[in-house]
Structure formats: C-alpha cells, structure tokens
C-alpha cells in the first residue's frame, strides 16, 4: 500500500492587490481587488514507504503548499489526499503523531531553552515512553554529533548546529514520514554534507519515507532516487533523475582545455556554450555525433591539454523545465 496518495489536489488563494503609491493605498480602502492564485492545480502522485523523494520547483510553485496539505495544516479546496489511509486535516492529531517536519527557515526548538530541555518537552508533547525516548534520543545525538551542544540555549547555536538539533527534534517520536522543507538553506559546506549524510542513513537504516523540498540541486543529486518537479501548481515531471534529464535533453557537454588560450574551437556537430580562458565547453547531441567521434575530430584539429565529458548540470535541466512552462 502506498504511504501517500494524492489525487487532483487543488488550492487557490485570494491575494489582495493594490496599485502602488498613496493613491493606490487610498483606493484600496474603498475597493479591494483580488487576484486568484492557483497554488495547486490538480496535483497527483503516490509515494511508497521508504522512498526518498525530491520535490522541487521555483519559488511560489506550490511546493510548500503541498507539504502543508500533507502535514494537515492546510485544507485544500478539492482533491483527495491520504497518508497511511488517513486524511491529514480531518484526522490531524493521529496524523501528526506519526510525521516529522523540519522547516529550514524556522526552528521548532524553544528559543530560550537548552537543546536537551526542548527535546524533553517534545517527548512530553508526543507522549513518548521513557525507554523509546531514551533510545531514539541517544541514537540521534550520536548520529548528528550534537552531544557537546545539548546544554546550550537554542538562540546561541549557529545555523548548522541548530539545523542538526532541529533534525533530531523532528525524529524523537520515531515518525514513519519526514518532510524536510529546505533543510540545507544557508548552511556551510560541512554542515550540508553532514545533513545529507544523516538523511541518507536515516532513510536506509530506518526506512523512513522522506519528502525533501530544496533549491539546492546538489541535495537532489546526492539524496534522491526520485524527483518531482512542480511549477504553477502543476506537476511537470515525476521520475528518476536520469528520466528527468532524458525528458528535457539528450545533450552532453565536452569540456576542453586548450594548450593555446587564443585558439577557437569549431565543429559542425557541436556549439560552444561557455568559454572561460583556455577552457571551452561544447554542447553536442550524442545521437547525431557519437562521443568518441567528436573527441577524435576535436583532438585532431586542436592542440588539447585535457578534456572530459559530462552531463549538463542539473540546474541547467531544471531551469529549462521552468522556462518551458513560462511560455
């Protein structure tokens, strides 16, 4: 049975608008104009237990709205949504007892309390038994390496420390489903890696289903077996990263370091997409010209120091999907 089933979910918001300036403000008093925003416009998907799904889209695409509906804190206008057979907003208390949520931009810890007291408070709020709590807490403390900061009040933590504590806090009651809303936002490289490694381990060893929204494509490449792309309230793509790539473009990049930085590289089957000093990036379609063939031609015609072939970065792919839906 799927962990999450979503069918045809729709949610619209009324956004009050006014013209700029003083006159606009005065007119707004008498007559409000409203614009209807389709935050969700027929969203459907289903997620199996233990999946680690990346949910991506530009700002305002409907990601957070989806997560809020799945978390039971927002009621959609229409459509079906079931998490483990429960309708989140109708059965809120039973539903939220079995999910964990981390909003990267907000903390769920109590600002004035030491971290460990926040944990103890959450234990009481979730009514976790002593033995279960101790086991989960100690395991999380070890996995996230937060032992040294347990007695520090939350307001004194760095963002990276706080995020690790927030992750622990969201899992003290051993939920089967975890929503992570931009968990790596603002983190430095080391903290990002620590968070990613933790999410992978959690998903593998505890079989926790994870839904991850992010703008960081490295998160997606490092973590997710499946990616859903949403824009303007509609799901544009749903599948593995390889599927996503193949759906947009078959293009591949040949990156060449020239001996002489003044040289130009030309080939009938490839075009230059980027040039930084002696490094030239050529885009080509491997179905039109096989990779070895192109390499042979380029190396025959130019003095080359080094070369390598790679896929266009995932950012590039995603940006193209976003742009295509704009038009």
């Amino acid at each position: 049975m799927p962990h999450i089933v979503v069918e045809n979910l729709a949610k619209t918001f009324q956004v009050a608008e006014r013209d700029p300036g003083v006159w606009g403000a005065i007119r707004g008093l008498a007559k409000r104009r409203y614009r209807t925003v389709h935050a969700l416009d027929g969203v459907s998907f289903s997620i199996e237990p233990g999946e680690l799904v990346g949910y991506i889209g530009p700002n305002g695409a409907g990601k957070s709205t989806t997560v809020k509906v799945l978390a039971g804190i927002l009621v959609p206008d229409s459509g079906r949504c079931e998490v483990q057979g429960r309708v989140p907003w109708k059965d809120r208390i039973a539903h939220v007892a079995d999910i964990g949520v981390v909003f990267g931009q907000r903390t769920q810890l109590w600002w004035d309390l030491p971290v460990i007291e926040s944990f103890d408070l959450l234990r009481d709020i979730y009514r976790v038994s002593k033995s279960d709590y101790t086991r989960a807490r100690d395991e999380l403390i070890a996995m996230l390496d937060i032992e040294p900061i347990l007695d520090v009040p939350v307001r004194q933590l760095s963002l990276g420390q706080r995020m690790r504590c927030d992750l622990a806090a969201s899992l003290l009651h051993s939920p089967s489903l975890l929503y992570l809303d931009e968990p790596t936002i603002g983190l430095d490289a080391v903290s990002k890696l620590a968070v990613r490694e933790f999410i992978t381990r959690l998903n593998r060893t505890r079989q926790v289903t994870v839904i991850l929204t992010t703008h960081d494509m490295d998160d997606i490449e490092a973590l997710c077996t499946r990616v859903m792309v949403i824009n303007e309230g509609k799901i544009l793509s749903d599948g593995t990263l390889a599927d996503l790539r193949a759906g947009v473009t078959k293009e591949r990049w040949l990156i060449v370091d020239l001996v002489n930085g003044e040289d130009t590289v030309t080939d009938s089957a490839a075009n230059v997409v980027r040039r930084d000093g002696a490094r030239v990036t050529l885009a080509f379609d491997p179905e039109r010209v096989p990779t070895p063939e192109l390499i042979r031609r380029v190396t025959a015609n130019h003095a080359i120091r080094d070369l390598f072939v790679e896929n266009p970065p995932i950012e590039e792919i995603i940006a193209r999907i976003y742009r295509e839906t704009k038009s």
């Binding site: 039971g72 804190i73 927002l74 809120r92 007892a97 909003f103 709020i125 979730y126």
Partner: protein, 263 residues
C-alpha cells in the same frame, strides 16, 4: 494532561527568569497604586454622603489590584503573537495535541509566573507601609484563595481567545488597545466595582470580568461574606467553561482559514 502540563511548566520556568521585568513592574505598580490611593483619599475627604465602600476597603482593594496586576489578560500574549508573526504557529499545529489547551497552558504560565514574582514584594510592601489590611478573617482568606485560582483560569481563558483572535489580525496591536481599557474598567482594576453607577451594576454582575478582580478582592475584604463563596466560584467557573467552548469554536474556524505565510 501530560503535554499541557509540560508546556505549562516549561513556560513557567522560562518566565520566572525575567526578574528585571518583574522589578520594573513592581516599581510601576507601586507608583500607580500611590497615585490612585491619593486620588481616592482626596475624593473621600471632600465627600459628605455615605459611599458603598469605606476608604480603608478601597485602599486595600487598590493594593490587591496592583499586586495582582500581572494576572490581568489586558494584552494578547507576546509568545502567541510571535508565533503568529513568524509562522512558528505551523509547528504548534504539527503537534499531536489539542491546540486550544496547548495555548491555554501557555496563557496560564504567562499569568502565573510574573504574578508570583511581582505580587510577593508588593504584598509585603503594601501591608507594612501602604495600608493593605490582612484578610477580614481566615474564612475570607480561604475564599479569596479559591476565587483567585478561578480568576487565573478565567484570565487565561480570556487571554487565549485574544491569542486566537490574532490569527485574523496578525499584529495584535489593535486588539490590545481595544481590550486593555475594557478589561481594566469592567474587572474593577481601575475603579472598585461597588463604586460604579447603580445602573451599570446589573451588567457588571453578569459579565465575566468581575471574576478577575472584584470577586476575589471583595471576598478578601469580607465585603462579600465567605458564606457566599459558592455562587461566586460558580459564576467564575461558568464563564471559564463558556469561554473555553467559545475558544474551541473560534480556533476551529481560525484553523480552516489559516494560511501559514511564506516558504
């Protein structure tokens, strides 16, 4: 009960740390108490007709009010206001608890912790130096104690409703301006209710606000005999129950229209 008790005690412990605020509050209440008492002394010395309350009782009533000032639900609670402004309210809704009682627990801590800090020095100062009399009798003291517990519940129920109201208004500033003078006037904090005009007495008796100050204070003074404590507590608790029901209803409506803003 466990989640609510945990929230109450955590908030209580946090709020007990605000000692500087308590000291400032003590100073303010002392100043206002002295001014108000002097005003009444002037009125009473120029007065020739008999009043429904003696000056000694009025003075004690005023000092009780100043000592228990922090109990009053005269502003939406800062922590709920912050939760709503920052979107932290999303996390509150993600807890497997009844959100009304969770907020009620917060409100209860918000009423009790600062009151404990401020009332003790104020009681001592006012009793030794400023004319606050001890309870009229042991029975009056006990009746006052019970009515004060009910007043705390009543104040928390009212504060919780203001907190829920902020889901609509977000800033809470307007609510504060509107509610604060109303509570002050109708509870007896500003003018002891027996001194209010005769025509207003019926309304004042029915409304919940007298349960905040007037009922416990007059039980303390013996102005209401300890034998009538039953109906007084009943009045307070009936309003607590009604307000809790209303609060639940209001919150369920608020949650349907709640939009947790931003990413």
């Amino acid at each position: 009960m466990r989640p609510y008790w945990a929230m109450l005690s955590a908030r209580f412990r946090t709020l007990l740390q605000y000692r500087a605020a308590a000291l400032a509050g003590f100073g303010t209440q002392l100043f206002f108490g002295v001014v108000i008492v002097m005003t009444y002394q002037a009125f009473y010395s120029a007065n020739t007709t008999p009043q429904p309350m003696s000056l000694e009782h009025v003075v004690s009533y005023i000092w009780l009010g100043q000592a228990l000032f922090a109990l009053m639900p005269w502003a939406p609670d800062a922590d709920i206001r912050l939760l709503i402004r920052t979107g932290g309210v999303a996390y509150e809704l993600l807890r497997p608890v009844n959100v009304y009682w969770l907020w009620f627990s917060r409100a209860l801590a918000r009423r009790t912790a600062p009151t404990v800090l401020r009332s003790i020095p104020m009681f001592i100062t006012a009793m030794l130096l400023l004319g606050l009399q001890p309870p009229a009798s042991l029975a009056s003291g006990l009746a006052w104690g019970m009515a004060t517990v009910c007043a705390v519940l009543l104040a928390s129920a009212i504060a919780t409703i203001f907190g829920i109201g902020m889901i609509w208004t977000i800033s809470g500033e307007g609510l504060h301006r509107l509610v604060s003078p109303l509570v002050m006037l109708l509870s007896g904090m500003l003018i002891p209710l027996p001194l209010m005009p005769a025509w207003s007495q019926t309304f004042l008796r029915v409304l919940p606000f007298r349960g905040l100050a007037d009922i416990p204070f007059r039980l303390y003074l013996g102005d209401i005999p300890p034998s009538s404590v039953g109906p007084m507590l009943l009045h307070q608790l009936t309003w607590v129950a009604l307000l809790a029901l209303f609060g639940h209803w209001l919150l369920s409506r608020a949650m349907r229209r709640l939009v947790v803003q931003g990413g």
